[in-house]
């Protein structure tokens, strides 16, 4: 092979430069994430131990832990999922299957707007509508607030995933004498199932990091939850409380709790990827 022409060399140089540039950007983006995780791990690992994970908070100096917060977060998540996911999926199904009319366009617009509402506004709304009426904070209110954040996200991803199901699949079922509702339930939704599940799980991951709405609804507590009518602790609120306190010990606990929260969210994401890997 003879020597490359000048244009060839220039092209190769430009290509190489661009590749390096994009690689650098990738490193920067990934690096930031790695830095955050690493820093949190570094700061938080100190206070992390089994007692910490199982105990409820104690006054300063006596140790204590985030056990109740972990349980509380779990309860809140379960509650919000029970309400938000079915409603979100149903909305998504409605929008995709009957999405042509005027009403559906209005619904779609509202759903999109809801996605953009700051979560603190949702929290204040639930405060006014539920907490004030009940005259106390509660896990129930917290669950509702989180559900209201989840619904638009789940609805939109469900709609998009259902739209991705090829029309030919629907026609195939219709041609066998299936009524429309059967086609939707029996063929379309199962075909879109993994996409819908991904959407739901991602909404869960997003919502598990919310703090502001919980401040107005679930409020927080020092104890393990007994029923849904009482205020309830959550990891995010706990972190907030510890972080703004004047005590170093509590700061350390805040870092540890942050590490736990990050690990939980990371686990949910990994679980989503694993469970929804392509089988069919």
């Amino acid at each position: 092979m003879g020597s490359l022409s000048r244009t060839d060399r220039t092209r190769r140089a430009v290509s190489g430069a661009m590749t390096s540039l994009t690689a650098l950007c990738t490193l920067a983006a990934v690096g930031i994430l790695v830095l955050i995780l690493g820093y949190i791990a570094m700061r938080g690992i100190g206070a992390l131990n089994l007692r910490f994970l199982m105990d409820s908070p104690r006054p300063v100096g006596e140790g204590g832990g985030i056990g109740n917060a972990i349980v509380g977060s779990a309860v809140l998540l379960l509650l919000s999922c029970a309400v938000g996911i079915p409603l979100g999926i149903a909305t998504g199904v409605y929008l995709s299957e009957f999405g042509g009319g005027m009403f559906a366009s209005v619904v779609r617009f509202l759903v999109d707007t809801l996605t953009g509402i700051p979560s603190i506004v949702t929290g204040v709304f639930v405060y006014a509508v539920i907490v004030l009426r009940m005259k106390h904070f509660s896990a129930f209110a917290g669950g509702i607030a989180l559900a209201m954040i989840m619904i638009p996200i789940v609805a939109r991803t469900t709609e998009e995933m259902i739209k991705l199901v090829p029309h030919s699949l629907r026609e195939g079922a219709l041609a066998l004498g299936a009524p429309q509702w059967r086609v939707t339930l029996g063929v379309v939704i199962p075909a879109a199932a993994s996409g819908i599940a991904t959407g739901a799980m991602l909404a869960v991951a997003r919502v598990s990091g919310e703090t502001a709405p919980l401040l107005f609804t679930a409020f927080g507590s020092r104890f393990f939850p007994r029923n849904l009518n009482e205020p309830i602790a959550s990891l995010t609120v706990q972190i907030y409380n510890y972080a703004i306190s004047p005590y170093d010990e509590w700061h350390a606990q805040a870092w540890a709790a942050t590490l736990v929260l990050m690990t939980l969210i990371l686990s949910i994401n990994i679980l989503v990827r694993f469970l929804t890997r392509k089988k069919f």
Partner: protein, 274 residues
């Protein structure tokens, strides 16, 4: 050694071209007009489809043959803005009469599509789908029997009998299309509509489908849309030629391809236009 006056059978069979036997009409279409919104796709189609024969629809792209095919099982209903005028009679009932049962119609008139569309389920569940939703079987073993029969009728049984629970999407293109045919056959329709069933398949898979059609016509009435004239010639007993939404000619296939009645038909068949 024959005696005078004795009738002696000829020593050889005189080959006779099979004459189309007279048949009852299965589907009778009268003055059918079809509209997509404002634009008219079919103009005054009048046609009788005899039972237990294969009728092919041919014509250039956009001539309305697929649209017409889909009016026969009301699949065009799912497209918004479509309108039908005229009568389509099957078994002496107008399938477009108000109050006509579309679900029942689609059980009697099955459809196989151009691109095979198996559900993302197992092979067994695909074939069983129609049986289950229409509740055509009363117990598990009857269901299994019907599925097996359908797969045998579709000439797919021997290739899949050991892996009925595996995913339908793992089959080859030709096998998937035969699976779709089995799925349609399982509910024992009376008519099978095929929209270019072999256009996405290689020649060997295509010829398997064509052999299948030949066997199926003993029991079913078959209507097949094809843009491949040789296929129409190979497979069908009757051929209908469509152009710009109008039915130009219907004839016995053999006559259609040797001496058609209409000049337009002849021009199309001999390749003188598109």
């Amino acid at each position: 050694m024959s005696t005078p006056g004795q009738i002696v059978a000829p020593k050889f069979e005189v080959a006779r071209r099979p004459v189309l036997p007279p048949r009852e009409t299965k589907i009778s279409v009268a003055d059918l007009n079809f509209f997509y919104g404002r634009s008219q796709a079919l103009h005054n189609i009048t046609l009788n489809i005899p039972e237990q024969m294969v009728m092919a629809f041919i014509g250039p792209s956009g001539c309305g043959k697929t649209t017409f095919l889909r009016t026969l099982n009301r699949m065009n209903d799912v497209i918004p803005g479509t309108r039908v005028q005229g009568r389509v009679m099957m078994d002496n009932q107008d399938i477009y009469a108000p109050g006509a049962d579309v679900v029942e119609l689609r059980r009697k008139v099955g459809m196989v599509f151009q691109k095979s569309n198996p559900f993302p389920k197992s092979i067994f569940d695909n074939v069983a789908y129609g049986l289950r939703i229409n509740r055509l079987t009363s117990n598990k073993s009857e269901l299994e029997d019907r599925v097996a029969t359908a797969l045998q009728d579709a000439a797919l049984w021997s290739e899949v009998k050991d892996r009925l629970k595996s995913s339908a999407l793992g089959l080859s293109g030709g096998q998937q299309q035969r699976l779709c045919i089995a799925r349609a056959l399982a509910i024992r329709p009376e008519v099978i509509l095929m929209d270019e069933p072999a256009s996405a398949l290689d020649p060997i898979a295509t010829s398997k489908i064509e052999e299948l059609i030949f066997d199926l016509k003993k029991q079913y009435t078959i209507v097949i849309v094809t843009h491949n004239m040789q296929q129409a010639a190979r497979v069908s007993d009757l051929t209908a030629f469509f152009l710009l939404g109008k039915l130009i000619e219907v004839n016995a296939t053999e006559k259609m391809f040797t001496a058609p009645d209409e000049k337009l038909t002849e021009d199309y068949i001999t390749g003188r236009f598109g």
